[in-house]
Amino acid sequence: MMGRHLREGVKNLIRNSWMSVASVGAVAITLLILGAALLIAFNAQQMSQYVAGQLQVNVYLKQQVTKAQAQQIVGEVQNMPGIRSVQYVSKEEGFKQLEQMIGTQYHDVLGGLSQANTLPDKLIVKAANPQDTVTVAKEIQAVPGVDKVDSGQQVVNRLLAFLSVLRNIGLAFVLGLLVTAMFLISNTIKITIFSRRREIEIMKLVGATNWFIRWPFLTEAMLIGFIGAAIPFAILTLGYRSLYVHVGGVFPILTFPLLPVSAVAIKLFGVMLLIGLFVGIWGGIMSIRKFLRV
């Protein structure tokens, strides 16, 4: 029996070609936009993780600490739990970095400052988990020889707040697109079925059960959903792959790494197929219902 329904579904799709193209087109273009938004969202999330991964604790050592003692402290910190990396920055390196950081605008101002100005030795510590940055900073404070610890708490908080605002806007937009896609797809299926309400009524009058009528429509809706998801998926994956290859896997200007094609493709395929197929079927069931009451 399933064989008949599948056959009928495919047959309807083909005989009804004009309408089928319109429906598949509507589903495809809706999912294309949604998919593009998802691609950006996935990468933005990856970026925010990448940026969070840059968070660091600056540990300033006391003036009287010698180079040898400093190396000892480095070892000690390295052995603490929850630490990913420890980097030692000497006074001299520190001055160079300060010069660079202050940058062009105030560069000449520093010209008057002698290198003799005593900068302290510094350790740059990264937590294994960016969220633990502040906790790690507190623990390091207790290590002897350590003068001041700066976890950049303010910067951290401001950055995380900014990223969360960005994420929320993005999320709201993607959710909006998702709801839109679902509405539009089920709407398209609805209109398609509406235009065939007389046929449904006739089938009912000839003695067909509700499921006998539903199945071919559902296979058809499923096919529309599947093709309508496959087309934009192909376009997006190929487009993203060529972009990825073109820029060498790193987003220019912002210089942060893009997600590899394979990682993105699976998620994208899942979301798009899920929407295409299941919204199609659900929309189909809901709108056939109206016309089965004969």
Binding site: M1, R4, N12, R15, N16, E199, I202, M203, K204, L205, V206, G207, A208, T209, F212, R293, V294
Partner: protein, 227 residues
Amino acid sequence: MIEMQNVWKNYPNGTIALQGISVHIGKSDFVYVVGPSGAGKSTFIKLMYREENPTKGEIFVNGFNIGRLKPRKVPLLRRSLGVVFQDFKLLPRLTAYENVAFALEVIGAQRQIKRRVREALDWVGLVDKADVLPEHLSGGEQQRIAIARALVNNPTVIIADEPTGNLDPETSWGIMKVFQRINDRGTTVVMATHNKDIVNTLRKRVIAIENGRIARDEAKGTYEYED
């Protein structure tokens, strides 16, 4: 087979199509339903396969209580009937063959579909139009496909609403011979018609409906509407 007791039908727009119809049609009866345009013949017939629900009164068809029939059971009722609709109601996307086969697929018949459909098409003389879509058939050809669909699954009751309205006299008599043969095998036939020739020649029971009421119910009756 078919039993109606004081059946009324008011349409939502206020038209009262039937006003107290009581009738009994037994097994293997052959009944003509006659009456002027708008008298209520189609309504009378639509109640039998539950396209319309009665406003008042009791209807029993093949043991189903129409007024109390659960929606789930309606397909079972309809499969026990063969219906020729006044406006044919062919599925526009299916060929003539597929339209007839549909009535068999609906009941889950698997075997001999091909043979049985060919046979039904042969009864109405349209074997060579098997692969044509309804919109590419003449009016009379469409009507004959509708008749073939009603006959194909050997129903116990045939209900036909003006099955010869679009047919020439010769073809009409061909169809009447098929109905007669099926009736001889024990199938009940209920047929609304305006065809005076047929009613007056092939004498059967005549139920005349006028203004929603049964005006006359005669065994071996005549059309009796002279100009």
